[in-house]
Amino acid sequence: MGKIQLTLDGNTAAAYTAYAFTDVAAIFPITPSSGMAEITDEWAAKGRKNIFNQQVNVVEMQSEAGAAGAFHGSLQGGALTTTFTASQGLLLMIPNLYKVSGELLPGVLHVSARAITTHALSIFGDHQDVMAVRQTGCALLASGSVQEVIDLAAIAHLSAIKGRLPFVHFFDGFRTSHEIQKVEALEYSDYSEMVDYKAIQDFRDRALSPNHPVTRGTAQNPDIYFQGREAGNPFYSDIIPIVEDYFAQLGKKTGRQYGLFDYYGAEDAEYIIIAMGSVTQTIEETVDYHNANGEKYGLVKVHLYRPFSSKHLQNIIPKSVKKVAVLDRTKEPGSIGEPLFLDVKGCFSDVDHAPVIVGGRYGLGSKDTNSADITAVYENLKLKKPKTNFTIGIVDDVTKTSLERVFKASTEPSDRISCKFWGLGSDGTVGSNKQAIMIIGNKTEDHVQAYFDYDSKKSGGVTISNLRFGKSPIKSTYLVGNADYVACHNQSYVNKYDILDDVKQGGIFVLNCQWSDEELEQYLPNKYKKLIAEKELKFYTINAVKIAEEIGLGNRINMVMQGAFFRLINILPQEEFIDELNKAVTYSYSKKGDKVVKMNQDAILMGVEQIHEVRVPEEWLNVIDNSHMEMSTIEEPDFIKNIMRPMQAQKGQDLPVSAFIGREDGTIPSGTTAYEKRGIAVNVPEWIEENCIQCNQCSYICPHAVIRPFLLTEEELNKAPISFETVKATGKSFEGLYYRMQISPMDCTGCGNCADICPAKEKALVMKPIETQLSHEVDNWKFANCTIGYKTNIPLGVTVKDSQFREPLMEFSGACAGCGETAYIKLITQLYGNRMMIANATGCSSIWGASAPSSAYSSNKEGKGPAWANSLFEDNAEFGYGMYLATKQMRNGLEETMKQLLSTNVDVTIKELISDWLNYKEDGEISEQVSGKLIDAIENYEITDDEVVLLLNNIKQRKDYLVKRSQWMIGGDGWAYDIGFGGLDHIMASGEDINVLVFDTEVYSNTGGQASKSTPAAAVAKFASSGKKSGKKDLGRMLMTYGNVYVAQVGIHADNAQLIKAVREAESFKGPSIIIAYAPCISHGIKEGMGKSMATIKKAVNAGYWHLYRYNPELSKQGKNPFILDSKEPTESFRDFLMGQVRYSSLARTFPDEAEHLFTKAEEYAKERYEIYSKMNSL
């Protein structure tokens, strides 16, 4: 028997144990569970063996429903099968869970429990998903800490095998799944000693086999179905002693005793809480604190939730208990109580002198639940009539469910050190903090905890690292709120976030900034100065950016900040921590060469030596907060003022429920990103007017709609700011007008694509430091966008250039700098945005499009713009189709009404307009003009004929549907090629006038780079770590086989004219259309950087990697070949294209034997595809 000490997160802990017992893992990635499958796959690739001396076979399916089917089939085939999932993914498995439990199969699901999408999507943790499967017949086992995960995961597998029931082993998403702790693990040999090999053999003997064939999954009728269902009852009573026995065996090996329910606290407790999951840790800490001060509190931790043993629960509760609060981390609207509460109530329903039992909700969507909230629960119990159906952690001033947080003290042990680091995604802060906690965990006797809090931006979001360490076990499963050390690694954050709210009196504050002490006086906001003085903080600054640059590390500040951290936190002697950090650096960077290792080691030393303590002037105590925003008298819209600004300042958790009155259905306004003005960029483009050829290509490709051409009359020009330089506009339609290419520097990400692609002989755009542009361009932007606007009275053609004079109705999204997706949909909103409906699949595009409070889809001056909604992932095609059906039905009703009106005595002018509407109702632009005139005509029209009045009122009531809508379903390749393909295929077969746009990044970008069926051969991705073996699915060609579907494959900047042609043809085609758009992504690892993401698209086409074509069924009707191959014979090297991206080039490093063969295969597939297209083109 061995015990291993590991420092890891909950996901890795679950995977560690699961691996031992698993033959096959059938999975589909979903946050926050994906890590379990990924690490399992990684271990398998590296040759780790399970207890059967085999590597686990990990298979990625097309969806969780597919994974569940494979899970079921694999079990019936005799393999011990596991899956990892969460949230909607678990729900998609429900039908199979009934099957697996009904057929008594020992499958195990490890679930990082996550919220269900209701009024909004949440990737964060709660128990809504596992509660939605509690009736499926699976056993449910709950873990509340990383240690429990690694322990109870084994119980799940062992019990499933012996007891023939599937187990859902769950733990809190993010709070446990992503929390790093130091834990003790058993060796696989221990698991082997515990497992019932006879039960495994019996299982394998029962497997489907032609050698002893049986029939399973029959249909049954009323005569026997019920009896058959009840025949399984003994397995549910028998599983309880099996679980108990394994708890006992585990206890013998580890010294840790678990029960179906565990009691903690006063033996003579009067007030107890019953709960499960990570909150039990916080409750233990709170109980310890209050019991030490004379209270009698207790806690029952639920481990085995299903089957639920009333007897065990009754026995574990001290007889002294008078009142019980049950905490549920789920919500069941319309019920009399949440599930665990009802179970506990049911337990005591026929017990004499039962305690008073109340129930409450907490922690939905990872809402932080701390000791103040738990104290409130106990205080509530002390009331004569405790509140039930309560909530904690929020302020519910609408239905008054919330308990108030009154308790203010910290329940954390005094020997604890807590730290909080504010960083930027990819700046190395998170990685360094993980490293730091490993070092502290491994080199000291301390218990350690690391938890990382992110916002939802894929790259460039705020990261907040919460670290704790100390002699006492860490049970604080909540965010650090009383930190000894707070560091801000991004100078600009002091202008937005109240970082010092969480630092304790006398604590340490470290600011990475370029300011000298004198400049601090000028630039550090007064509210910071005041708090530093009031809290008597030890205030340090360091110019980590300058140090990193001087050393040769560019902008990589993380090791500088690490050196500073270890020096100030004083947890290890200097020599020791420098040695440990140096070792870590050597481990991380040795493959990059000695020079890189040395630079990082120098960075550590510089961090130690150059951290500078600021002498805090006494005057800072008396400064007045004079932030510009507070001073402004502008009255912002309610949503911005009351919801968006607090959320942006990381104060959203303080918003009461009433803030959402009127928004109960999750609706947020469109166009809110315009209010952000984040100032992301280091450099922004400066327009050199004399070089500009007014092609507007820069605007066309701009991912964030921050550079736009404007046309001005002479009169308008006279009102322009002095710095608003213009040139005469070129082009017949623009005679007499002036032209300017205007940048919005505060919205620009600084990617540089605009400058890169500028085709002018001498560049008309050059990147300049943002500080040199702000003073005039901010005002110039305001003038251009708000005063001048977008001229609708100029006849604009169908060209690339003309399209850019139209207002984009998708702007300033949260997409990464240089994102390859956004410009496509931006263009479509410029052409059709005023009458557009968008169904957006979950994925990057839904996150950058609309993560509350930011909505990138906006409206024009008339208030018209894309109506946007996200349903789920798998159903996006159907969701958009449903929108279309609703519109069609309403318009059919209008058509009927119109036809009836034609036969009445309504005014002849109105009849003419009605005829026009009937003739042109399917034409977007004409229907818009006609509808406007028709509404004007009937608005105040008076007639005494009741029938006519009724018919006219029908039209007025449905006037919203008069203009032909442009229905779009958009999403990534994860949706279109995989999980949503069934639905996509179905709507493409419908023949209806719908449009699909696929952002093809060739990988599941949003969930962390898992392979899709769009991933080409040789690409490295999760679940294809040695390069994808199979080729890329040809989605376009599959859909062409319908014959009546418009299909186009496009690449912006590779052929801008082809793109706009395809968009217009697709939209005007009176049937289903699909545009598949190549979208470079940060996940590709483009070596030239995201500033050349557009250039990459051109290279892709020139190298024959991506092809441009259009398949237009309209041409068939004209007797022409419907297929047009738009891209030319490749002229550039395919291999060079691959090697220009880490997703390919890394294969040569990691699997050199495979690489050459796969690269050759990839090129063959691409050539073959081009040949097929060429043949189709020549028919």
């Binding site: 600009s492 890189v596 166009g671 100032g679 890169d756 590709h1084």
Partner: protein, 63 residues
């Protein structure tokens, strides 16, 4: 038809004139400057930073 409380213009905006950055990404891996295009001053990050940026979206940000 004109805008209502659910279709915002971005004009009644306290940050419309702001020149103060709140979320500068100068330290992001994608923004590292290893080389600079001489003509446009567009920065090119270098292999290590490209890998770091990729690693962040694949493993770090985890949405």
């Amino acid at each position: 038809m004109s805008r209502n409380s659910n279709t915002l213009s971005g004009e009644d905006n306290k940050r419309l004139h702001s020149t103060t950055a709140t979320n500068k990404e100068g330290t992001a891996a994608w923004a590292n400057v290893h080389q600079v295009d001489q003509e446009t001053n567009v920065s090119i990050p270098g292999d290590y930073s490209v890998e770091k940026a990729k690693n962040w979206v694949d493993d770090g940000s985890k949405l």
